[in-house]
Symmetry: C2
Subunit: 356 residues, 2 copies
Amino acid sequence: MKEWLDAYDDRDWQSATEGTVRYALLGLGWWTIDLALPAIEESDLGEVTTFVSSSTEKAERLAAENGVDHGISYDEFHDGEAADAYDAIYIGTPNAYHLEYAETAAELDKAILCEKPMESTVERAREMVEICEDADAPLMIAYRMQTDPAVRRARELIQDGFLGDPVSVYGNNSQPLLEMNPNKEQWRLDPDLSGYGTSVMDLGIYSINTTRFLLDREPTAVQSQMSSHADGFGDVPDERSGALLALEDGVKMVTTDSQNAHEDTQLKLTGTEGQIELRPAFHGKATLHLSRGDLSATIEHDAFDAQREMREEFDYFADRILTDADISPDGRHGLQDMRIIRAIHEAAESGDVVEL
Amino acid sequence: MKEWLDAYDDRDWQSATEGTVRYALLGLGWWTIDLALPAIEESDLGEVTTFVSSSTEKAERLAAENGVDHGISYDEFHDGEAADAYDAIYIGTPNAYHLEYAETAAELDKAILCEKPMESTVERAREMVEICEDADAPLMIAYRMQTDPAVRRARELIQDGFLGDPVSVYGNNSQPLLEMNPNKEQWRLDPDLSGYGTSVMDLGIYSINTTRFLLDREPTAVQSQMSSHADGFGDVPDERSGALLALEDGVKMVTTDSQNAHEDTQLKLTGTEGQIELRPAFHGKATLHLSRGDLSATIEHDAFDAQREMREEFDYFADRILTDADISPDGRHGLQDMRIIRAIHEAAESGDVVEL
């Protein structure tokens, strides 16, 4: 137990100890400025050299405020401006813009770290994968849970038989979106920018992807229900959603997600012999609850929060780029989430079981 | 808060302060002997006068061992033996026998407290309701969660607007049945005795019924998945199950249940403004977790366990009988659970949404 705790946040994936990946950051919202930027600044293998935003003026102003060398517009980015100053881009824009920036980055021979969900539709996500593969451009989808030590230790425990046979999974991700950002015109509520909807695309993806990573099992069929009720949610089908997913080996997974509910994140995996739970799960401070037989243990990591999760993610990405190693989660891994999310939306519309 | 805690386990339902209901107990398994019998012995308004079992010898022996006056066989029970010694029966037998005992009790003009699920099929449950209504025999279904103070206080909080609008519900009830009772021929794994199956009939009913009670909302449609894998579960469809229930007002409910998994019980109700959770939920020691805005509270009742829950349930039943008051949960309330469970089994077989 002493050794296990001491090695809890060891980077089992790290092979590069020196080198620097220089980033251009696209989409300068609070997530990028307040979390991604400091995460990279504190990281071992990264630095930010370039800001990209809607106008040159805004990009230059924010670059100056944050001590970043270059501030350019999206048009200038597409024209290759300042391309010598960065090796990789981080895409933190609304979903429906991811493809065009990845395409330009691939043309410019840059690596790409793209926020999840990777695009607004399966078709556009597939196009991104193919463009990056054709250009041999490294593409990672930013599933920060996969480099959170709580998740990595949970995965090892599962591989070690902690659960016995996995039986069921429950995931919930809910938040009061309009309390966090009262703008009813925000892109997460606009299907032209967000894609299939809001609660599964933006929140449910955490339960789905983290479960795929933890169990190494894929959903084979889904059923679902969705509805929207409150002001501001008229254009998206899923202010609230519930889904039932059949995973490989008869594992039953259920999820609930809402953009208009009390904040709560929980991911619970129950097996024939034990249970592993993350709660809170997805918004930083991931806490690991283990139980097996009559014993239970809770592991809290005081220093891990969303920013530290981002640092791990950026350093993992940089490590892959600097050592020219395979990336996981790559574009095809992210594309599978898009297919699952589309199936959940189709299932809610039809009432049918949708096979994957 | 002081007043609220001091009144936490007050019996808001009690009107009788004296009187005694004399019980015959049917089905002398560990639940009846180890929990129901001491619960009644400690209760204010009940006493056990009669044991009923498969043979006179067994009934008489157990009656003598436990200081109970009469021990009779099921045949003798049907013949009206010792009927002057009891006012009510408690049915703790396998599900498929409930109807015949209720029928005889109704003929003998006795009140009936019947374990849940109330019978093995909807048709037999409906027959029980009709027989009891025709005979004017009081019938209560033994949903002990409904008289647990944690559940009653949660219900009041919900009626008081604690959750805001209810958004989603998650219920899990899992246990390792064959570790608790290694007999693979036990009645819970025999559909002739248990009814539609094992995990939803025996475990899922807790999430379903407690949610109906807490939210005062009924399921309108269900989807489901079931499978059986392990030795001993070959005759039932649902060693594991997962279900997605549409409740009134767009509430999304998801459940998982298993008779072959690590023990865990949780019931979580999430609303637009708060969350109420029972964990552990169903196997005694129900603990109430409240959260609203940035605040959360956990209320543990050190003295409540399964036996104390049974005592409340028996005293509630006795109170209703002694004051000739309406009973809730009555037979029609239990019949609705049977319809929901049948729909969940139909949904798992067909893959379709089954409307209620």
